[in-house]
């Protein structure tokens, strides 16, 4: 590839007023952005701020619903042709194949009988360049590698030439499973790569890394770019402030009217909840909140004992995996947790079951003309309402919620908040994991998780986005 001085000035990728709409949700709300060769762009923002959507629009995983994406420097029509590579946080390697074979999957040019040797040499060279002294065998099957080694392989594949040099590499939380030394190797390589004329988009919640590696920082919030400046113009505190405005309205107000009773939940990691209390679990996604809740529930509800009166119910956030029973109607999905309560001598009272489902369809506003319709006929948000109804219909004193508002529209959210407060006033306890600050502010007490452990416990007026972020990011020097 020949690059004249004039070409260098042209951006590798240019987004013009890019918009991405998922149903009613504006994941990307008019973003214009240019990335030039030699730049390392730090991208920060909360979960749900639109970072992943932006990245997916850049690498052509998503076609924007408005605006445009172009690759002026190369003139290529597609991200692939322009040398855009992505390394995602969720590992995308095939565990049953070797390291070299995984490179082959990403490298269409490797053909013929000798591809194995070529793949082996290429991945070895790339690993050596990014992570000197890595100790990974190119013939090792991926499932024999540790999580960190897998992440290293994934990164090495991202930077490998694969027939055409990488121009822009997108790294989404690349260091989340790497230890300090290895992460440092990666940062060094990123700097070297950018000095040599490559570009990188670096997404991280570790602000220290952002400052170490980024030449320019972009802050996203609610699908918009709210700040776009050279990295030198930001301070840590300024960056955190830019990520989230703190609107203190409503803080602690919910607690006033309610009586908080005796402690009803206590887990080994120190999570506690009292009668009538709404307890939040916060922090960055994937730091052990969902696991803590699932463990708590599974330890309480036996897979063997008949649940006479359930002590705890669970509202799933990952609907497909943890919640929806896909072959069933809305009615049966609502009633599954209260079957022992609506049965006499093991036989169901179907009139009562229908009445409960109809009542909840009205109360929580499930958009369907008949609860006998299949659950899969509903939109995601409405399926989520069904799961809410399932839990709230039971009389269980403790309700465990694993990020339960995904895809639920704003109006319903307000209704559900009110419902949760009303139920808590009756003495029910809620444990509520959420990635949204607005929801966390509904809570009386919040536990912030980092790396699978509780890093802070906040109550009342202390429940602010700033305090949660501080506790999430381990910023001893802040504040």
């Amino acid at each position: 590839m020949t690059t004249s001085a004039a070409d260098k000035a042209a951006p590798l990728v240019a987004l013009t007023d890019a918009r991405m709409q998922f149903g009613a949700v504006r994941a990307l709300d008019g973003v214009s952005l240019e990335i030039r060769a030699g730049e390392c762009l730090g991208l920060v923002g909360h979960n749900g701020a639109g970072k992943s959507t932006l990245v997916n629009v850049v690498n052509a995983g998503l076609t924007p619903t408005g605006g445009s994406v172009s690759f002026p420097a190369s003139g290529a029509p597609s991200a692939r042709g322009a040398g855009v590579r992505s390394v995602f946080q969720e590992l995308s390697l095939c565990p049953n194949l070797t390291v070299a074979e995984n490179l082959k999957i990403a490298h269409e040019g490797l053909k013929g009988l000798r591809w194995r040797g070529a793949a082996r040499a290429e991945i070895r060279e790339s690993l050596d360049r990014v992570f000197p002294g890595h100790g990974i065998d190119a013939d090792a099957e991926v499932d024999t590698l540790s999580i960190a080694q897998r992440q290293m392989v994934e990164i090495a594949i991202g930077f490998a030439p694969r027939g055409q040099a990488a121009q822009l590499v997108i790294l989404d939380e690349p260091t989340s499973s790497l230890d300090g030394g290895i992460a440092q190797q990666l940062l060094t390589h990123v700097r070297r790569f950018c000095e040599a004329g490559g570009a990188v988009i670096f997404i991280s919640h570790m602000l220290g890394e952002i400052f170490e590696v980024a030449s320019r920082v972009i802050v996203m919030k609610d699908g918009k770019v709210v700040a776009d400046r050279p990295a030198g113009e930001f301070t840590r505190k300024g960056l955190v402030d830019a990520m989230g405005h703190v609107a203190p309205e409503g803080t602690g107000a919910a607690a006033a009217e309610r009586r908080i009773g005796v402690e009803v939940v206590r887990t080994p990691e120190g999570l506690t909840a009292r009668e009538g209390e709404i307890v939040g679990l916060s922090g960055l996604a994937g730091h052990g909140q969902a696991e803590a809740l699932a463990r708590l529930y599974l330890d309480t509800a036996s897979a063997w004992r008949r649940p006479g009166a359930a002590r705890m119910v669970f509202v799933a956030g990952d609907r497909g995996r943890d919640g929806v029973l896909p072959l069933w109607s809305i009615l049966r999905n609502v009633s599954v947790s209260i079957l022992p309560e609506i049965a006499r001598r093991g036989l169901l009272d179907r009139t009562r079951e229908a009445a409960v489902a109809k009542d909840w369809k009205r109360r929580i506003g499930i958009r369907t003309d008949d609860v006998a319709n299949p659950i899969l006929s509903l939109s995601g948000g409405n399926q989520q309402k069904v799961l809410f109804a399932r839990a709230l219909a039971s009389a269980a004193p403790v309700v465990v919620m694993d990020d339960p508002m995904r895809g639920v529209d704003v109006g319903t959210k307000q209704d559900v908040y009110a419902m949760i407060r009303a139920e808590a006033a009756k003495g029910r306890t809620f444990l509520w994991y959420s990635t949204e600050t607005e929801e966390v502010r509904q809570c009386d007490r919040v536990f912030v998780f980092r790396d699978g452990a509780i890093s802070a416990e906040l109550t009342g007026a202390d429940i602010t986005e700033e305090r949660i972020l501080e506790a999430s990011f381990e910023m001893q020097d802040a504040g």
């Binding site: 036996s302 004992r305 649940p307 943890d322 029973l325 109607s329 049966r332 599954v336 093991g346 036989l347």
Partner: protein
């Protein structure tokens, strides 16, 4: 009518009716009663074990009981040996057959749950042990069932074979349990998504345990009835029921992926499996062709029955 066609069980009944009509048309209507009677008699055995297999398959992917033939043989052998053709021992024999079923179910689930073996491996391996126990206790003897029991199992009430009445009664019970009871809902929830069911408060291991017990008890009962019906236990008496029990579930319109079961369909499929063989026999199809046709017909029905299905 369209609502009827949407029911997955209708296909096995249509197929059974068609096979019946084709067979009878060959003889110009003669022998229709005899054919129906034979289909009900032999179909009953397939239907009872089929319903057991259906419950297990409803538990979800990977769940199946391959020890049904060995359980039938062991239950039939031990029951008939204990009765020793003595009059008045029928109830004792039944108790033994059911106890064998309970024991087998317990052992199967212990292997599955405690040793975490896949059910296919666990039940297949355990069936070798059950079969060996049967061989060891049988030693080639063919003991006749007590006279009263033999008369019952080969007799009829209101022109319908007694074994078919038993099969019908069991079908009604299984249907009520599946469609109207807490336990049935739990079973179907478990089969759709075990993790989601667990998180919705379903005691999934308890459900699985009860299901593996149920299939083995039904197999024990079938072994007892079949041995009495055919004048004594034989070591190969369960053989054809391995494939049969699975085929009737699939043809009957239950979901092979679990979570959805269909009781009437199993009965229709059990009748069909007998009738299709008699039909091919009466048209003089050679053995090889008969198997090929049977296989082809089964595939056709499964495709027809596997329309989209959702329960209300």
């Amino acid at each position: 009518m369209s609502a009827l066609i949407a029911r997955p069980w209708i296909w096995s009944w249509l197929a059974a009716a068609l096979a019946f009509a084709l067979t009878v048309s060959l003889t110009g209507g003669r022998g229709a009663g005899e054919l129906a009677y034979a289909a009900l008699s032999f179909g009953a055995f397939a239907a009872i074990v089929g319903m057991g297999q259906m419950l297990v398959i409803t538990l979800g992917p990977g769940n199946v009981d391959l020890s049904i033939p060995a359980t039938m043989t062991l239950a039939g052998t031990l029951a008939l040996k204990a009765m020793g053709s003595d009059p008045g021992t029928a109830a004792m024999g039944l108790a033994i057959a059911l106890a064998v079923g309970l024991g087998v179910g317990l052992a199967n689930f212990a292997l599955i749950y405690l040793l975490r073996l896949p059910p296919i491996i666990a039940t297949l391996a355990a069936s070798l042990i059950y079969q060996s126990l049967a061989i060891w206790s049988n030693r080639g003897l063919r003991i006749k069932p007590p006279e009263g029991l033999a008369d019952f199992s080969t007799g009829r009430t209101l022109a319908v074979p007694n074994v078919a009445w038993v099969g019908l009664a069991i079908a009604v019970v299984v249907w009520v349990v599946l469609e109207r009871s807490t336990w049935g809902r739990w079973l179907m929830a478990t089969g759709q998504n075990m993790r989601a069911a667990r998180l919705a408060g379903v005691p999934v291991q308890r459900v699985r345990f009860a299901t593996y017990l149920a299939v083995a008890v039904l197999a024990g009962l079938t072994g007892y009835l079949l041995a009495s019906f055919s004048g004594g236990a034989a070591l190969n008496m369960g053989q054809e029921y391995l494939l049969m029990s699975i085929a009737v579930v699939v043809i009957g319109g239950s979901s092979i992926a679990g979570g959805y079961s269909n009781v009437p369909g199993v009965w229709g499929a059990a009748l069909f499996m007998f009738l299709v063989v008699s039909m091919l026999n009466s048209y003089g199809a050679p053995a090889g062709l008969r198997l090929v046709l049977t296989g082809t017909i089964i595939i056709g029905i499964v495709i027809a029955a596997s329309t989209r299905r959702v329960r209300t």
